[in-house]
Each structure stands twice: as structure tokens, then as C-alpha cells.
Amino acid sequence: MNVMTFLIDFSEILIATCRDVLPIIVLITGFQLLVLRQPIPHLRRLIVGGVFVIIGLALFLAGLEKALFPLGKLMAEQLSDPAFIYGSDAGVAHADWKAYGWIYLFGAMIGFATTIAEPALIAVAYKANEVSAGTISQWGLRITVAIGVAVGISLGTFRIVSGTPLYIYILAGYVIVVIQTIFAPKNIISLAYDSGGVTTSTVTVPLVAALGLGLSASVPGRNPALDGFGLIAFASLFPIITVLGYAQWVQWSVNRAKKSLKEDNHAI
């Protein structure tokens, strides 16, 4: 392995991460100096933490680009290759949606796995756990969101293969979210809506975008420009449904336990 090229790659990523953080630093210092005019408490600790975040994120991205992204993208291409799906090199005029089983499974599993590793979701789960005084478990939330992403990506790949219009799925998803919102426990709703947005950042987007573009380029009759997009939309919609659903299920089972307890008391 060439150490020099790696160091150059890493410093490029580090500079890019610093550039991401720059507007935040400018904004916060500007506000502190010009508007708030107060010293920041625990400044040294904050700076050390900030440096950890930048270096950590840069190492994380460099590692992903070195190891997992090339392999994941390659696999997305290989799995959507007609030669793999139909077992021959002969061109197929029409896509048979039943032949793409491995794609749906790959979409679901890669969606689940990348969401578990998503740093933004780790942050939100940490905060939710802290704010709810431990009632919302970090792993519980992350797994529920990851299942939502898995279902979303899997359905999204099915949409690309079958060529059905995107907005129908989104509309149906919205209707489900609205109905769930009426019945779900009120204190979970904000967190559920938020979990839609946090799922898709550094880890999920590159792999999922590669899957979408590779798939729409290889399925006969699809145009990558029009059909390649939309997977990220699926990945941001379905976690809302699973988080609301999980909260409803918990509420329902708690109510049932209470009810049976009451009946037991009556019997005694």
C-alpha cells in the first residue's frame, strides 16, 4: 500500500471536513463576539471536542473510501448486471421484477447496515436517550430506524425495476404517516419526524446512490437520469413509519398489560 497517496487522500478529506466546519465556527465566534459579548464557558474542552469531531470524521470517511465504498459500489454493479440476474449475456427486452430477488435483499441489508453506522443517527439517538431519561434506548431507536431504511431501499429498488412512478409511493407513505400521527403517542412524533432526515448522510448516500444509478442503467427501459433518483427519498420516509409504528406497538402492549392487570384484580 502506498503510504504517500494515502496521506494525500487523507489530508484532502481533512481539508474538506474543515471546510464543512468553517461556516459553523465563523457563525458561532461572530455571534459570541458581536452579539452575545460573553466568554464561552469550558472553551478549551469545546475546542478539543471540536478537533476530535473533525479528525474523527475525516478518518471515518478516509477509511470508508479506502475499504467499503469501492467494494459496495462494485457489488451494487455486479448484482444489477444482467449477466448475473438472468444467467446469460443475452439482452433482455423487458425487466422481470421477480428475477431481482438478490437486489431487493442487498438493498435491504445494505440499508440496514449503513444506517447502524450512520454518525448523525448515533448523535440523535444519544440525545433522545438523554432527553427521555433513558426511556428511549439508543439501540432500540437505531434498529427501528435501520429497519425503516431497509424497507425503504428495498421498495425503492423494486420501484426502479418495475418502473412505477415515484410520487405514488411517496404519496402512499405520506398518507400512512398522517394516519399514524393521529394515533401515535404524542411525545414520540417529533423524534419520529426527525429520524427521517438523519438517516441519509455520510455512509448511506454514496452506497445507495451507486445502487440506484447502477440499477437504472442496467434494467432495460430505465433512464438513469430519471429513475436513478428517489432511493434517498424512500430512505428518509420509511423510518418515520417504523418509529411511529414501534411507539404505537409499545403503547398498545402497555395498555393491554394494564388492562389484564385490572381484570386480574377484579377476579381477586
Binding site: 469545546l46 440523535v124 400521527t181
Partner: protein, 255 residues
């Protein structure tokens, strides 16, 4: 016996670091398993460049543990400190200004957004929606980027205003959904997929913790607000608003 001795010898800092590394490893384990399964069982190919993959995985694990440590030490406290200081200052104008600036400035330079808007310009050109010269393509991509950044700024602003006023989140979000669906019926088909995806790509890994800490911090200092019910929801706005603005941009430019 030796194990006990060893545990005692390890300093607490080292133990904490070890625990963070272990957590990061379990965060990453699903990806490793999925890739290994598909590579070895389904595609039946050996893993190429195993050395690089292992090296990269170690980097990812160290990076993720550093990031989580930095979250607890830096990003969360900064977001909360800003929320507290701004709430104590008591000026709604500066609070809303800060919110807008935070949303706008973190989005406008987002690499994912730059990539997506360039791709969108290519698609618009292929569909003959804009003139196929470099200038109009650049203008289109820049306009798209600015409208997304503006929409995220507005989203954080509305979200913070909601926390101040105590408006229920679901009415605003469902109202947003209705607008999205209505715009979908009239927006040009070339922009719909990009618009839906734009909602997902705008919230970066550094913005999310900061915005979450800001919301929770505000909700915990303002009387009558619950951090759980009112503190979350900013990210939901930040993922919904760009969809509306990008479709609106498409309508204005192509319309």
C-alpha cells in the same frame, strides 16, 4: 488473577477509549457482515485487496470513536451553550437570525448538495429544459444550490419559531406534505426525483448534532416546553423544506 491485575493497571482513560472502540466496532459490524456475505456467498468471489480493506476498517473504527467522543465534549455543549446564551439574551430577532444563518451557511457549501445540483443541471440540459451552454448550466446549478440553502435556513428559522411559540409540529409537517403533493402534480417530471432526494442530502453529519442540541437546549430553557416533544423536529423541517423549494425553483425556471 492476572486479568484482575491487568484491569487494575489500565488507566481509566484507556478503558474508556477501549469501550469507545468496542462500540464503534459493533456499529460497523453489520456492514462488514453484509459485504462479506454477498461477496463470498452470493457473488462467490474472493475479497479483493484484503489488506486495504482491513486497514480502512480500522481507520473507520478509530474515526467513529473519536467522532462520538468529540460529540459529547464539543458539538453538543456548543449547541446547548448557544441556545442558552441566546435565550438569556431574550432577543427573538437575533435568535431567528442565528437559526437562519446556521441553516444557510452549513448547507450552501455542502459537497453532497454541490454534486446533486450539478447532476440536476445535466439532466435539465438533456431534457432540453435549459439552454445547452455552460453558462446557463452553471446558473441553473447555482440557483438550485442557493434555493436549497435558503430553504434550510428558513426551515431552521420556522422550527425555532415553533419551539418559541409551542406550535404542534404535526400540523406544520402535514401541511408541508400537502404542499409537496400539490406541487408534484404541477412540477416538471425531470425535477421531482431530485427534489425528493434534496430533502435527504442537505443535513450533514456535523449539522445534525448541532441542530439537535440547539433545539433540545432551547426547549429545556423555555418555560412550558418539553425537550422531547418540542426539542426535536428541526431536522424534520430541514428535510421537508428543500423538497418544496426545489420544486418551486423548477416551476419558476421552466414555467
Amino acid at each position: 488473577m492476572t486479568r484482575n491485575k491487568m484491569t487494575r493497571m489500565l488507566s481509566p482513560v484507556f478503558l474508556v477509549a477501549l469501550k469507545k472502540l468496542k462500540n464503534a466496532f459493533s456499529d460497523l459490524l453489520p456492514i462488514i457482515l453484509v459485504i462479506a456475505f454477498f461477496q463470498l456467498v452470493v457473488l462467490r468471489q474472493p475479497l479483493p485487496q484484503l489488506g486495504e480493506i482491513i486497514f480502512g476498517t480500522i481507520l473507520v473504527i478509530i474515526g467513529l470513536s473519536l467522532f462520538v467522543q468529540g460529540l459529547e465534549m464539543g458539538l453538543f455543549p456548543i449547541g446547548e451553550t448557544m441556545a442558552h446564551a441566546l435565550a438569556r439574551k431574550g432577543s427573538v430577532f437575533w435568535l431567528l437570525f442565528f437559526s437562519f444563518a446556521l441553516g444557510f451557511s452549513t448547507t450552501v457549501a455542502e459537497p453532497a448538495l454541490i454534486a446533486v445540483s450539478q447532476e440536476a443541471a445535466d439532466i435539465a440540459m438533456q431534457g432540453n429544459l435549459i439552454n445547452s451552454d455552460e453558462v446557463s448550466q452553471k446558473n441553473y446549478a447555482l440557483g438550485l444550490r442557493l434555493s436549497v440553502a435558503f430553504s434550510v435556513g428558513i426551515a431552521i428559522l420556522i422550527g425555532v419559531l415553533r419551539i418559541l411559540r409551542g406550535w404542534p409540529l404535526h400540523y406544520l409537517i402535514i401541511g408541508g406534505y400537502v404542499i409537496v403533493m400539490l406541487l408534484t402534480t404541477i412540477a416538471p417530471i425531470e425535477i421531482i426525483g431530485i427534489a425528493y432526494d434534496a430533502g435527504g442530502v442537505t443535513t450533514s453529519t456535523i449539522t445534525v448534532p448541532l441542530v439537535a442540541a440547539l433545539g433540545v437546549g432551547l426547549a429545556s430553557v423555555i418555560k412550558g416546553r418539553s425537550p422531547l416533544v418540542d426539542g426535536f423536529g428541526l431536522i424534520a423541517f430541514a428535510s421537508l423544506m428543500p423538497i418544496i423549494f426545489v420544486m418551486g425553483y423548477g416551476l419558476i425556471v421552466f414555467g
